[in-house]
């Protein structure tokens, strides 16, 4: 988990620089500060488990084991990106690791996930489906439709609310009634748990039991992981809506430093080992950037490909 979090952090920090340098088009929504959620959620998952994510999904993709090269090249809009440049940051998917897509439409994962769970159930495998969404997203109707359906069908789905207390510029308290998203689980008769989303181990433990429950055929759960986003809503966001102090406070609880301290205390990590991990991550991220930089852009007429299996003429 430590290496995963570092990989996410460094990949996003590099993406940030590259975006500022004009190498990456479009919008990017960074999850810097929220890495513990991605790492904790994905750690108990197998490669063939499914993950449905959000517009802020870089970390989730990386934690699920998605290709860093495919990721970076996709941000660049290159032909070698894992979606051949058709998806970009907000719609990136890597089906080879069960990552069924970031999503530009908030909350959509909540209604797709019960169907993924149903397919698992009907195919008789022991996979699970996880969907991650923001606290803002939890206020859209599809959240309720999706949780209700999953609970009704008892499908192996874990709903994870990544609560960073902001929906773009709107504070949690101004948008979310009831104070707790996890508490909504009670209305659907499923377990709901709130965890410290800056503590990777806490997320991992909550997730482990939700996944075990799902695999055992006992149905869905809802986890609310409370965290802090260090950056703006999107890159370039002036963040006039919140105080510096809030982010500073969050940085005091940096999930990466926190896990490192914990591992060091438990004598599972020392400075030399940490340096080796950091160097390996650095090399991987650099390789991904080099790959993206040196990859070709798609040919314009490739825009007509991939619409259908048949009828490539896109009528």
């Amino acid at each position: 988990m430590y290496a995963t979090m570092l990989r996410i952090r460094r990949a996003e920090e590099r993406a940030r620089e590259l975006y500022a340098a004009g190498r990456i088009p479009g919008f990017i929504h960074l999850s810097i500060g929220q890495e513990a959620v991605a790492a904790g959620v994905c750690a108990p998952l197998q490669r063939d488990d499914y993950l449905l994510s959000t517009h802020r999904g870089h970390g989730h993709l990386i934690a699920k084991g998605g290709s860093l090269r495919g990721f970076m090249a996709e941000l660049y809009g290159k032909a070698t990106g894992c979606c051949k440049g058709k998806g970009g940051s907000m719609h990136i998917a890597d089906a080879s690791v069960g990552y069924l897509g970031a999503n530009g439409v908030l909350t959509s994962g909540c209604v797709l996930a019960p169907g993924v769970g149903q397919s698992i159930q009907m195919r008789g495998t022991d996979q699970v489906a996880v969907t991650i969404f923001g606290d803002g997203a939890a206020n859209r109707g599809p959240f309720h439709e999706g949780v209700n359906l999953a609970a009704l069908w008892k499908v192996p789905v874990v709903f994870v609310c990544e609560n960073n207390f902001w929906a773009s510029t709107t504070a949690h308290d101004l948008s979310t009634a009831g104070g707790s998203i996890a508490a909504r689980a009670a209305g659907y008769g499923i377990p709901g748990a709130t965890v410290d989303g800056n503590d990777a181990l806490a997320v991992y433990l909550a997730m482990e039991s939700a996944v075990a429950r799902a695999r055992a055929g006992e149905g869905p759960s809802l986890i609310e992981a409370r965290t802090v986003r260090f950056m703006g809503h999107f890159e370039g966001d002036p963040q006039g809506y919140r105080s510096r102090g809030e982010v500073e406070g969050g940085r005091q609880r940096d999930p990466i430093a926190r896990l490192r301290a914990h591992l060091e205390e438990a004598k599972l990590l020392d400075a030399a080992h940490a340096a080796r991990v950091a160097a390996a991550v650095e090399a991987e991220v650099q390789d991904a950037v080099d790959f993206a930089e040196s990859s070709p852009l798609p040919a314009p007429e490739d825009a007509l490909q991939d619409l259908f299996v048949h009828y490539p003429w896109s009528d």
Partner: protein, 323 residues
Amino acid sequence: MPVLDFGDALNLALREEMRRDPRVYCIGEDIVLGVPFGVTKGLAEEFGPARVRNAPISEAAIVGSAMGAAITGLVPVVDMHFADFVTCAMDEVANQIAKSRYMFGGQISCPLTLRMPYGIGKSAGGHHSNSVEAWFVNIPGLKVCIPSTPADARGLLKTAIRDPDPVLIFEHRGLYRVTGEVPEAETLVPLGLADVKRRGIDVTVIATARMVGESLAAADRLAGEGISVEVVDPRSLVPLDREGLAASVRKTHRVVIAEEGPMRGSVGAWLAWVIMEACFDDLDAPIARVAGPNIPIPFSPPLEAFATPGAADVVDAIRRVVK
């Protein structure tokens, strides 16, 4: 050949496909009893509630979950109850299903069928009567078919289910009890293949769904006046059999396009452009169109009748182009 009604032909298609492929399942509101149009009647007895799934009134979750299932190995057939209600799942159809393969660079396949009971009739009113196929023809990434006979309904639905991409099948609810011959043998109707429903030499009427029957009635009426009408049914709008339509126009040199949906921004407008582009030099008269007025479908019978294009409108349009 056995004679079946349109609804039973669809039921037969579902039954055949569910027997053939255990991944196929149906989902929708009240489908166990086959409410409201009887298409799914009896399927639950044969295939059980897991494969004939009554869902809560949660259109977004019905359509969204179908996509989730489709991209991970199942083959859902969604019953939209009334096509008008698709607006409650429009994100799922327009943003998720339609774009999944493309945005993800071809990694994800979404083999899903949306059954769209639609159309005017019986004073069902503004939330139950509209012809909305044009909305979906305008969304890249969806295939759209629209049968007019029981045989086509069965053949197109079977093709839709086997198709690796999302297909919407528009089932006009005024056709459910219309009967026709359906081949004994299992027959697939390919997408993108128009069918000539009646041969003629003076004018081509391109018509869809209920308007095919209205156009055939118009053709009967005009036969007495010595006007020979060819009626062509595109059967699938995406993909479209441009060549099939053009071939008829090159023979008759005159075109009427008949549909039930509103005139503005419609499928017919698109078809007119397709014909114009392919056959401009062959046309001896401007293309005429029959379509519904640009209003939601009203409730009161006289108002509804006003909003319902029929054989008389097709006759008028044909007279305009052949005079």
